[in-house]
């Protein structure tokens, strides 16, 4: 597949980086155009405590049927201008691709019904699970788990998905420990070398699965890296400045999907989305305060500033006083979107005013929010496109992010406590110790000590470890 190289920004002025508008909108599902001026809710949901097995599948299908009916009915009642439904497969539904397929088909039928009856503009995203680490060491490009994934891609598409996504985990064999140790060098290699190489492989496959179908090759997320860091930082287990660096760094990896054909909308939990939007111009999905049901965060408002879809990430189907949790989530998203769309209806300046409030409400309070201000997004994105190749880009991304944070904490509005400032210095030192040469950096990351890592899965010769 042809690989596209981004050497310039598609959005190069921070004024133009705003919710609802992407330079390259996409159209899919029933009349849904994303990125052309309107922000739509993207609703996600998952099962309550229950097993997924052959024998529970009827009950599983029943759950999804009730959820989708509740959600779509509420969407009609609230007169949403459009809706994206995401179905994130759980591991057994990918390992047994027919199970995932049957749920996609069920959802498809429901969506068609609500479109036909109520004219609801609606589209379906399917997100198979990256189950390759079900066996360890992790082969990534072969074996029954990888075969199951490929089959799952195709079945989801043929059963009626309008967008295909994944939360891929290539490089995780090295990153889990690195996160806990705040080991920047290994994180760089995990994301900027291993992750990037795996993405190129994987997104060519996904592109193949979508080729010639109704289904968009949509986008990925570094959730398993950057959101793990975010959750750990939120629990005060690792420094927030480290989580902020992992976030921007993850852009380099996620961008590879778009170099390999992904057209958006990106995955909701990819907070690297804004950088991707600036670079590529594809529409992005994001989540913030109304995804608190799925994870707490310090970027509840700022995440909305540049979103084209606005998501709740995930909520299990439990009964709340107001109704089933997915319906409750849908309602919250719908109102959030209404506010953004009504401001945008007053013109670009008005929209920008709301955007800036969303930004300013969070930016000074947390480094993970601070790196997401439109100015900082453009600055990071520019550093990325100006460097060549994933490895060099990663190094540049870390450097510019540390600069942004230091400047923000010194002359700018960013509040960092002493422990965070200490870690900012530690990270700077770590960066300076990372070799500028890719092969040397790989060697220095001691990948040979990672028990689950198969070098060949990342095109690394054993002697280069």
């Amino acid at each position: 597949m042809a690989v596209r190289h981004y050497t310039n920004l598609t959005i190069d002025r921070s004024e133009d980086l705003i919710f609802g508008r992407a330079p390259h909108p996409v159209t899919c599902g029933h009349d849904l155009t994303i990125g052309a001026g309107t922000v739509y809710p993207e609703i996600n949901f998952t099962l309550p405590p229950m097993e997924v097995t052959e024998s529970t599948m009827p009950a599983v299908l029943d759950q999804y049927q009730k959820i989708i009916d509740g959600v779509c009915q509420r969407a009609v009642d609230l007169q949403v201008p459009g809706l994206v439904v995401e179905f994130e497969l759980l591991p057994p539904m990918t390992i047994e691709p027919a199970w995932g397929e049957s749920i996609v088909a069920l959802l498809r039928r429901a969506l068609d019904g609500y479109h036909d009856k109520h004219g609801l503009k609606i589209a379906l995203r399917a997100t198979p699970t990256d189950v390759r680490d079900g066996e360890r060491p992790v082969r990534r490009r072969s074996g029954r788990y990888w075969e199951a994934m490929r089959d799952s891609f195709r079945r989801c598409v043929s059963a009626g998905a309008d967008m295909l996504s994944i939360e891929s985990t290539g490089g995780k064999e090295a990153s889990d420990d690195a996160l806990l140790q705040c080991d920047l060098q290994t994180m760089l290699v995990a994301l900027g070398v291993l992750g990037a190489r795996d993405m190129a492989f994987l997104w060519d496959e996904i592109g193949e699965a979508c080729k010639g179908t109704q289904c968009l090759s949509a986008g990925d997320t570094a959730c398993g890296f950057a959101n793990t860091a975010m959750v750990l930082a939120d629990r005060k287990m690792i420094p927030k400045v480290f989580a902020a660096v992992v976030r921007t760094l993850s852009t380099v990896r996620t961008l590879v999907a778009h170099e390999h054909g992904a057209v958006g909308p990106t995955k909701d939990c990819a907070y690297e989305g804004p950088y991707i939007k600036a670079i590529t111009g594809v529409p992005i999905s994001l989540e913030g305060k109304s995804a608190a049901c799925a994870h707490l965060s310090s970027i509840g408002n700022i995440a909305a500033a540049t979103a084209d879809l606005w998501s709740n990430e995930s909520v299990q189907n439990v009964r709340l006083l107001g109704g089933d949790a997915p319906v409750v989530s849908l309602e919250q998203l719908a109102y959030d979107c209404r506010l953004m769309n009504i401001a945008a209806a007053d013109g670009a300046d008005a929209a920008r005013m709301l955007r800036d409030w969303l930004v300013r409400s969070d930016a000074a309070l947390d480094p993970q929010a601070y790196v997401l201000t439109p100015d900082n997004v453009i600055r990071v994105a520019r550093a990325i496109v100006e460097a060549d190749g994933a490895f060099a880009r990663s190094r540049e991304t870390i450097a510019v992010t540390l600069d942004i944070l230091r400047e923000g904490a010194t002359d700018g509005p960013l509040h960092l406590n002493d422990r965070e400032k200490h870690w900012l210095d530690m990270l700077q030192m770590q960066l300076e110790m990372i070799p500028t040469d890719e092969e040397a950096a790989i060697k220095a990351a001691c990948l040979g000590t990672k028990p689950d890592l198969v070098p060949g899965a990342y095109e690394i010769d054993d002697d280069k470890l």
Partner: protein, 231 residues
């Protein structure tokens, strides 16, 4: 760092202190500028030379140091990397002590068998619990992720006096957690089995017949002290 004297008391305090700062040995430059100064390894050597009993070195030097860090971690005063460094420094000392405990095992608070349940690959939480329980004196048998009940039962058979911990992060593997508890109870009706993980609650723990639930490692330490008091 504490003033250096030769009194065993002070040596133990230095060991504990070096564990806390993560200074494993003289070679290490953590904290910055400390290269050449004695670390855990050297202080342990000194203590041995002064005939401080190895149990005392372990309990009042190494463990004491890690426990301070564990408490600081629970109080959000240090980050995981700092705990990890301390744990590594402690291990540097343990390696020195091992030969002194002759054949028999290192003395411990008890054995803890821990795994993530079948179908679930999340292990960050599990690993943290293991690490901090180790700091509290437990000997850890980590049976990994995606543990079938048989695997857990086999590990318990090998360590019949152990306490057990199970982790689950997915709503859909909470059922597997229930099955694991049942399987363990079949062979070991009175076994202490504690459970945790983001979706798990006190009520759920009761429902599946676990012995207890803890939201985080420090609560897990307290819980085990209640359920299976030290001899």
């Amino acid at each position: 760092m504490t003033e250096t004297t030769d009194a065993p008391k002070d040596i133990l305090a230095n060991i504990a202190q070096c564990v806390q700062t993560g200074k494993a040995d003289a070679n290490m430059n953590i904290p910055m500028g400390s290269k050449g100064q004695p670390g855990v390894a050297e202080w342990v050597d000194q203590a041995i030379a002064k005939d401080v009993p190895p149990q005392t070195i372990l309990a009042e030097g190494l463990m004491a140091g890690l426990q301070v860090i564990g408490k600081k971690f629970a109080a959000n005063e240090v980050f995981i990397p700092e705990v990890l460094i301390a744990a590594r420094a402690m291990h540097a000392g343990m390696n020195k002590l091992k030969p002194l405990f002759a054949e028999q095992d290192m003395p411990s608070r008890g054995t803890f068998v821990m795994g993530t349940v079948q179908g679930d690959l999340h292990d960050i939480g599990k690993n943290l619990v293991c690490m901090l329980l180790e700091g509290a004196g437990w000997r850890i048998i980590d049976v990994g992720v995606d543990c079938a009940p048989e695997k857990l039962v086999a590990a318990i058979k090998e360590h019949p006096d152990c306490a057990v911990g199970l982790s689950a992060l997915l709503t859909t593997t909470m059922v597997a957690m229930g099955k694991a508890v049942s399987a363990i109870r079949e062979s070991f009706p009175d076994k202490t089995v504690i459970v945790g993980g983001a979706p798990v609650t006190e009520e759920f723990a009761k429902e599946i017949g676990a012995s207890g639930y803890a939201p985080d490692p420090s609560a897990a330490i307290d819980l085990l002290d209640r359920l299976q008091p030290a001899a």
